[in-house]
């Protein structure tokens, strides 16, 4: 069964450093997302991406965040200058794009620890 894959599974970084989290969505999916979850609690929407551009973003997704689909398969989330409060589990998701009735398929997550 196809799945969303994410790397790295865990990254530890120093405050102020840049981090790139990588995702390979399911191959025939058209919509891509990043969510984050702090300490196993609420799952928070960050950004959605369709047709090579951001379609929606939350207030969390400020100028320190960016997303990119550089080669038609990978989907990346970059945090330019990490803060302590960026420590969280980051989940990538994709959906087929059957309107907005389609469910999201999530990866296993990348745990980011900012020291």
């Amino acid at each position: 069964e196809p799945e969303v894959t994410q790397t790295p599974s865990h990254q530890v970084t120093q405050m102020g450093q840049e981090v790139i989290l990588r995702c390979v969505p399911i191959s025939n999916h058209l919509y891509f997302y990043w969510y984050r979850q702090i300490l196993g609690q609420k799952v928070e929407f960050l950004v959605s991406f369709y047709n090579n551009e951001i379609s929606e973003k939350s207030e969390i997704f400020d100028d320190q965040f960016s997303v990119e689909r550089p080669d038609g398969s990978n989907f990346t989330l970059k945090i330019r200058s990490t803060k302590l409060e960026d420590s969280a589990m980051y989940f990538c998701a994709s959906s087929r794009g059957t309107g907005n009735a389609g469910e999201l398929f999530f990866g296993e997550g990348s745990r980011l620890t900012v020291l």
Binding site: V43, E44, Y50, N100, L104
Partner: protein
């Protein structure tokens, strides 16, 4: 704006008993509703969804959920709980007006007691 409320942080059920995990929602249009399950240190797995039609939807692992428009609820149910059902459950909503964002509730930790 769309939102989801899961009023119970924790639900404990004896193995073999029926279980219910509660969810209420708020959207501006008609809702698309979803349940996801998260096992420890894992991603979110899709369980079931309501889009239209029959108010009772069936999903994976014997779970089902009932859509109640008048009460704006979408409670998750299972007739007979298994210890392996112990996990964190998230309800999520999206409106049908072209919005892509899926909004999640705060999650309910379900513990099945042997």
């Amino acid at each position: 704006a769309q939102s989801v409320a899961q009023p119970e942080d924790q639900v404990n059920v004896a193995e073999g008993n029926p279980l219910t995990v509660k969810c209420t929602y708020s959207v501006s249009g008609n809702p698309y509703l979803f349940w996801y399950v998260q096992y420890p240190n894992r991603g979110l797995q899709f369980l079931l969804k309501y889009i239209t039609g029959d108010n009772l939807v069936k999903g994976s692992y014997g779970f089902e959920a009932e859509f109640n428009k008048s009460q704006t609820s979408f409670h998750l149910k299972k007739p007979s709980a298994l210890v392996s059902d112990s996990a964190l459950y998230f309800c999520a909503v999206r409106d049908n007006g072209g919005n892509e964002k899926l909004t999640f509730g705060t999650g309910t930790r379900l513990t099945i007691i042997p």
